[in-house]
Amino acid sequence: MKFGDILKSACTNLMRNKGRTILTIVAIFIGSFTIALTNGVNIGVNDYIDKQVSGVGGDDMMLISPKATVSMGNTDEPQKYDPEKKTSTMSQNATLNDKDVETIKEMDGMKDADSVKSYSINYISGASDEKYVFSSMPILGSLEVDLEAGKSVNQESKDFEINLAPEFVKSLGYKSAEDAVGKTVKLSTTASATGEETIVEAKIVGVRNQSLMQGGNSLLNQALIDELSAIGEQGLPESMLGQYGMVVATMDKATYSSDKEIADLKERLGEAGYAGQTVDDEIGMIRNIINAITGVLTMFGAIALLAASFGIVNTLFMSVQERTREIGLMKAMGLSSGKVFSIFSIEAALIGFLGSVLGILGAAGVGNLVNGIASDSFLSSLTGFTLIQFSWSSSGAIILIIMAIAFLAGTLPARRAAKLDPIESLRYE
């Protein structure tokens, strides 16, 4: 018997008892639907997080601050003071200076390190002349800015440039993001020693997309930050200059790429009295929660599949029972046991295939519906977030895995069919 004929007879056998076949497929459908949908949510959320991560900073970036210790230290005894080491406790915040920047830069595995200059902005005002509290941050590492309009700020430029957070467009008195680009805004900053207020003018070169991680944060270029920081330090004594709360280091990705190597680097930073955090660390929490939730849902899907595979076993056992004489006749006519086995196990795999394909199509349909509703309602503020996404590779993997499970379930009845004795089966009433 040729493979094509085996496949065809498996199909006709499935069609022979449509009701039973459909019910078995429905059972598989439920499992595959659940798994495909949760998988889609997982892909959608992780994809969005990845986009956000690349919006916060490059993945080779590490934020380094002085290591915080409890007054009792990390052992039972109080920690000895070491003037060379930075110590930071709940009540006392140590800062980093240029020497620390050099130390970090020298460390094995670091390509570069830069201080994050501190600055303060009292308010921002634009065309409407209203004053608004303004939060902003510098561009860190190799950042890709997700922009709604305009272009990214130029780090090399001497001009003061801003990528404005989208929340500010309307309030500052601009009609749209496109309208805001190219306009000049006023930033107010105060020298901490004298309390004297200075107004700095900066140009909006681009408007950012909505961001889950950094809602309301605008991005400033280096020239603007240098200016704001210089104004803030005006009149300060020499000893208080060059104090930074944070250092941004760039890891050498060529040698530090795996999680273990990064963990090792963090450990060495810890020994030197610093605490390092990568972008992934900050967002890893959200990712872990999403993965845990989808993991649990996938498990439910898997349980549904397990139940469904017993359905396949049952269906095929019944089918073997019904077709005992037919199997006996075919074996008498010279059909080998192996071929009988193939017919039944392929039948099982076909049930798995139909169930999983329908499940994925169903999940894709429901996913599109949910995405449509979500982007109009509860996710409308998160541009670029598609809640449920499907990929060919994961859909293919789901189909293959379910077919494999169905095939395995089918081997039991198939084995019984293959072992039938032709004489006994022909006598069977």
Binding site: M1, K2, D5, S9, T12, R16, R325, E326, G328, L329, M330, A332, M333, G334, L335, S336, S337, K339, P422, I423, L426
Partner: protein, 226 residues
């Protein structure tokens, strides 16, 4: 030249006290083109003999020679091929797939043999023509009368041009009129195409039409009349 020969064939079921000997040392030699009736009451061992001759069962001892070749040590795979190519089967209860078409039922042995779809159809139509049912090819098997069903089964048995057709009570489920027609087809095949016919029956009239009658009682051949 004998087409099939059994030497001191024994077949027993069960073990020890519950051991039952269905055949107690049977010697038969069947010539090519013969029509042979195996006659006996139920439980006499006639079906067992047919199953052994058709290579569906293995004897406890003794041997079967097909075309002077010993079949005792043939591998399962070749045995399947041998059965598929050399034998045709007709059963009392027809054993058809009633929901399938007549043509598909007749094509079954060819499908098992792995013959291409086009050739399959041609051969099956030729076999159906032989039993005068080529006009019913696309009918559902269920829609046929008992006699027609058995004729389809004969078409199925001869579709692969076998050397031997084994018929187990071929007219047992038919009334005498349709039974005669089925018998006629079988004997025509035997005479015209030289297909060896081995019929298991307890119908004396049918047995009388055969060239030779082998009577079995309690697992022994008691009479072999030509």
């Amino acid at each position: 030249m004998s087409v099939i020969e059994a030497k001191n064939l024994k077949r027993s079921y069960g073990k020890n006290e519950s051991k039952f000997e269905a055949l107690k040392g049977v010697d038969v030699k069947i010539e090519k083109g013969e029509s042979v009736a195996i006659v006996g009451k139920s439980g006499s061992g006639k079906s067992t003999l047919m199953h052994l001759l058709a290579l569906l069962d293995h004897p406890s001892s003794g041997e079967i020679l097909l075309n002077d070749q010993n079949t005792t040590n043939i591998k399962t795979k070749e045995l399947n091929k041998l059965r598929n190519e050399s034998f045709g089967f007709v059963f009392q209860q027809f054993f058809m797939n009633t929901k399938d078409t007549v043509l598909n039922n007749v094509m079954l042995p060819l499908k098992i043999a792995g013959i291409s779809a086009g050739k399959r159809k041609k051969m099956a139509m030729a076999a159906l023509k032989e039993v005068e049912l080529d006009d019913k090819a696309s009918n559902k098997a269920n829609d046929l009368s008992g006699g027609q069903k058995q004729r389809v089964c004969i078409a199925r048995a001869l579709v692969n041009n076998p050397q031997i057709i084994f018929a187990d009570e071929p007219t047992g489920n038919l009334d005498s009129k349709t039974g005669v027609k089925v018998e006629q087809i079988l004997f025509d095949l035997n005479k015209k195409q030289g297909i060896t016919l081995i019929i298991v029956t307890h119908d004396d009239e049918l047995a009388a039409r055969c060239d030779r009658q082998i009577h079995i009682i309690d697992g022994n051949i008691v009479k072999d009349v030509k």
